[in-house]
């Protein structure tokens, strides 16, 4: 039995696609799906399973993009080579553009922001993204602002992967008030205590940065061979 929605109900569409990073979407999902009087739509080009970038986990898209043309909020997760692939998909970019014209908030996590870029929506916008991809913002005429998340008009972009959790708490406060956001923060006991302090380029030592870049490159190349089987592997 569907839960009856009040007139001020919200529809939040989270885009899923092959090669996306799971936590980019699921961090925010864990917060946004707990908002009162709010429906989450997990949308993809076609309903069904999408496989995340590290290959083991598949998430189920419940709706196609055309089923959810005018959500109140959209959230675009990032990824690696899979994101490069989907930013070339005109049907997806058309959906992003049309949806954005009607949203209250348009949000992106990590390299998901390049879906906005490829849709022509980043010109003159202040934004952030994963630390390894910040230089690419200039390609879309966006201005990089180093921050955990950046609001620019109704567009909110978050830094890499886990930054989506912080961004979603802010978004929750904008949608349903700070009191609700704080109650959800407590419900998911989001009082982080990372055992190491190497979560940003500024804090990590040089060996960690070097090894992290090497890992990112290997994951990208893995994905590239999957998503662009006919293309020569790019020099990085």
């Amino acid at each position: 039995m569907p839960i009856p929605m009040r007139p001020d109900s919200l529809e939040i569409a989270i885009l899923l696609y092959d090669g996306m990073t799971a936590l980019d979407a699921i961090g925010p999902y864990e917060i946004l799906s707990r908002l009162p009087n709010t429906a989450i739509k997990l949308v993809a080009k076609e309903p069904g399973l999408v496989v995340t970038d590290t290959r083991y986990l598949a998430l189920n898209a419940t709706d196609s993009l055309t089923d959810v043309p005018t959500p109140d909020v959209i959230l675009l997760p990032g990824g690696s080579a899979g994101t490069m692939k989907i930013t070339q998909d005109q049907a997806v970019l058309d959906w992003v553009r049309t949806a954005h014209a009607n949203t209250q908030w348009t949000t992106a996590v990590c390299t998901g922001v390049f879906l906005l870029g490829a849709s022509g929506l980043l010109t003159g916008v202040e934004a952030t993204t994963h630390w390894a991809s910040t230089a690419d913002l200039a390609k879309y005429n966006a201005r990089y602002r180093p921050a955990r998340f950046v609001q620019s008009g109704k567009i909110i972009s978050a830094a890499g992967v886990s930054a989506g959790i912080d961004m979603a708490l802010y978004l929750a406060s904008q949608l349903r008030g700070e009191q609700v956001a704080k109650a959800i923060q407590l419900a998911i006991e989001y009082d982080p205590e990372p055992p190491f302090d190497s979560g940003s380029l500024q804090k990590a030592d040089q060996d960690t940065v070097q090894q992290s870049r090497k890992l990112l490159r290997s994951w990208f190349l893995d994905g590239f061979q999957k998503f662009f089987p006919d293309q020569a592997i790019p020099k990085l």
Copy 2:
């Protein structure tokens, strides 16, 4: 083509079940699935989709419990009424017990620790869980230690939901060394900056605590009606 595994390869089984909390599993997954020379098995009683506690998202289990009898590491996510249901499933408890006898590490997030309790594995163990459920540890003769995550022998338990991310970073360092764990922390840019400081019972104001308890109760009752349709709703 399967990736060839070296002799020191690790198999990590993450349990999935209806009514689990998505982030309990996906936070750790995002870290553990990036470990070198490691295979993740997403196991459930039967392969296929499980629906998470907030109802929109389904995750795909690739293997049945009997397919993965002796993983090197197990990770048990929590949830609300769905966790209450699965802690009564003897086939699942049997798998937990047998797997635990052979693991290098047995780990649980949030109320997932009660799967260990119901399997008889918490007697005399120091553990933590979600702040709203700490009193239940005594039912299983465990000793509550207030911490983001607690190691007691080879059992590691994490506090509520998001605490699994911190725990998984520690686990990653134990499995593959601190340098690898730190490189993955940077790769997922885990440098948290929650916009509010209400993620623990100690830090949240009384209104937030009260509203959070109210939300937790409503989610539990929703789930209870789903998982125990023939039972009277418990007084809370």
